[in-house]
């Protein structure tokens, strides 16, 4: 067997899998988005832009997603940065590995169970009970945008810490020494050397978190209690409850388009801002 044939043979199963389970289904969604709802739900063939013109019917879901996804991303970045800084520049190499693993591990455990935990903490007998006990009055936390935001930060913080950590760790430490030797105060060194050089990490982390948040379903479903819902929740309703596949496909196509446009614009902006020296890599 020549190496050429072997390469083709090795790639065959993976290619077939990608085509049948990824490319074709995505094409089906695209085609269905121009169709209509079948008489008993599902899909009936057709070609019109009606589904796209009706997207306004799910405006609330799009609005919530377009507000809470960016706000959640920024909140993650703001909270993650100091931790990443600490891990990259203030911890001995020996303890660093353990501390990094401790950050990543929660990300790989069930987001379902982790957001469930917050139903406890934010629910009637959790923090609100504590606040009432301290005599500060009664507040509602669960089923509010705040609860969803807490869930988002909790769920996606690890994903933000890692890229920022990597960019800070790779930073040439001699630049910091040089800046200090030349009489620059620490705060100024941070603002004009460390922060700009670690921006690629912030950009990568933000993009990863933002993309995942755009498709989020579980966190708003668990902590938003039907009051704060994302496009993901609208999709579950359209495909599994009201079974309107054509309109649901249009919502999915719109979601992916918004994601693509935002991410492309964001990548252009960060690249220009970083003066071309930053490579926004995703992996």
């Amino acid at each position: 067997m020549t190496p050429r044939y072997r390469t083709a043979l090795f790639l065959l199963p993976a290619t077939a899998w990608f085509i049948t389970m990824l490319v074709l289904p995505l094409i089906v969604v695209f085609v269905f988005s121009f169709g209509t709802r079948g008489p008993a739900g599902g899909y009936a063939p057709g070609f019109s832009f009606e589904n796209f013109l009706n997207l306004g019917a799910r405006w609330a879901a799009f609005k919530n997603t377009m507000v809470l996804a960016p706000v959640g991303t920024i909140a993650c970045a703001v909270i993650a940065y100091p931790l990443a800084y600490f891990l990259a520049l203030r911890v001995s190499a020996k303890r660093r590995t353990l501390l990094l693993i401790l950050v990543i591990v929660p990300f790989w455990t069930s987001i379902l169970i982790r957001s469930y935990a917050w139903i406890f903490i934010l629910g009637g007998k959790g923090i609100p009970a504590l606040i009432a006990w301290m005599g500060l009055g009664s507040i509602q936390l669960i089923n509010t945008p705040f609860a969803v935001l807490v869930g988002i930060v909790y769920g996606y913080l690890p994903l933000m810490v890692f890229p920022i950590y990597v960019s800070l760790e790779q930073l040439d430490k001699r630049l910091l020494e040089a800046s200090a030797d030349l009489g620059c105060p620490p705060g100024r060194t941070f603002l004009s050397v460390t922060l700009p050089l670690s921006m690629p990490g912030v950009a990568t982390g933000s993009m990863l978190v933002f993309i995942l948040l755009m498709g989020e379903f579980l966190i708003p479903a668990m902590l938003g209690g039907g009051k704060v819902f994302f496009v993901g929740n609208a999709l579950v309703d359209l495909f599994l409850q009201s079974r309107n596949w054509a309109f649901g496909s249009a919502v999915a196509v719109a979601l992916v388009l918004i994601m693509l446009v935002t991410v492309t614009a964001y990548m252009r902006a960060t690249r220009r801002w970083a003066g071309g020296r930053a490579d926004v890599s995703l992996m």
Binding site: F10, W17, I79, P82, L157, G215, A252
Partner: protein, 273 residues
């Protein structure tokens, strides 16, 4: 700085600790701790639906991870010698598989498979000798394994490929110079070097599939996986039994993860020496 870091770690781990703590609650109330007991673990483990959902999850996780690891490793090895536009094509496929939201993958798989099954089932029934016994294609293990395997496949390719590119090439050349066959070189030089990555990829794939809710929610058909069971239980109300199941799931995925991390770390360390 140190205090801030401690606060973030507490933020990450206190919720998990609370679930673990309340799973040992003696009382019925999910939010009031009244004493220590393991009764909810017993209740969970003797619940027929929990056991069945667990078995389903395990079957899907292991099958999808094994298939994805085998085919992903083969693809990663072959991709070494692929360049130009084919390379760009595969990179695009891997990129899309990782980047498209799970919910969109779930939807796409659901409607594509249901549509294809609706075409094929009448044909199958017509071709089958006895129409009543003709097999009905439907969502279930097959669709779950195929949909989970898709993401795992991309994951394994990324991890194994990273390890291959960090591999010491002179060893392969030395092996060939010393007269080893290509397969001999693969079995004795390449495979031992990339094995930690393959194993780590496998464990991450198992973890991903075992924990996934959103894709399974769409493509599971009449099958219930453990996350689907937990989700519907939470919908009905917070109970100590859910805490016990949750703690067991967390323990299982934590041990898988720590193993995967340890293997990857050791692989990296041996690559340096």
């Amino acid at each position: 700085m140190r205090i801030y870091a401690c606060a973030v770690y507490l933020f990450l781990y206190i919720p998990i600790a609370i679930i673990a703590l309340f799973s040992f609650n003696a009382g019925k109330a999910a939010t009031q701790f009244t004493g220590f007991s393991v009764q909810w673990y017993g209740k969970a483990l003797s619940n027929r639906f929990v056991v069945e959902a667990f078995q389903n999850s395990l079957t899907v996780a292991l099958s999808s991870a094994i298939l994805a690891t085998v085919f992903g490793t083969l693809a990663a090895l072959a991709l070494q010698s692929v360049t130009g536009k084919w390379r760009a094509f595969f990179d695009a496929l891997i990129y899309i598989a990782v980047m498209v939201p799970g919910i969109v993958i779930g939807i796409a798989t659901l409607i594509a498979l249901v549509t294809v099954f609706n075409w094929l089932n009448p044909i199958l029934a017509a071709l089958w000798p006895l129409a009543e016994t003709a097999p009905q294609l439907q969502l279930g293990y097959g669709s779950l394994i195929a949909a989970h395997g898709l993401f795992s496949l991309a994951l394994v390719i990324i991890i194994v490929r990273a390890r291959i590119s960090g591999m010491d090439r002179s060893l392969i050349e030395a092996s060939a110079d010393l007269g080893a066959t290509p397969f001999g070189t693969f079995a004795q030089v390449t495979l031992p070097q990339i094995f930690p990555a393959i194993l780590a990829g496998f464990l991450l794939a198992v973890t991903f599939s075992f924990d996934d809710f959103i894709i399974a929610f769409f493509v599971a058909g009449s099958k219930t996986t453990l996350p689907i069971y937990i989700f519907s239980s939470i919908r009905r109300g917070v109970t100590p039994e859910v805490n016990a199941i949750g703690s067991m799931v967390l323990t299982l995925s934590l041990s898988l993860l720590i193993t995967a991390q340890a293997i990857l770390q050791r692989g990296r360390a041996s690559a340096k020496t």
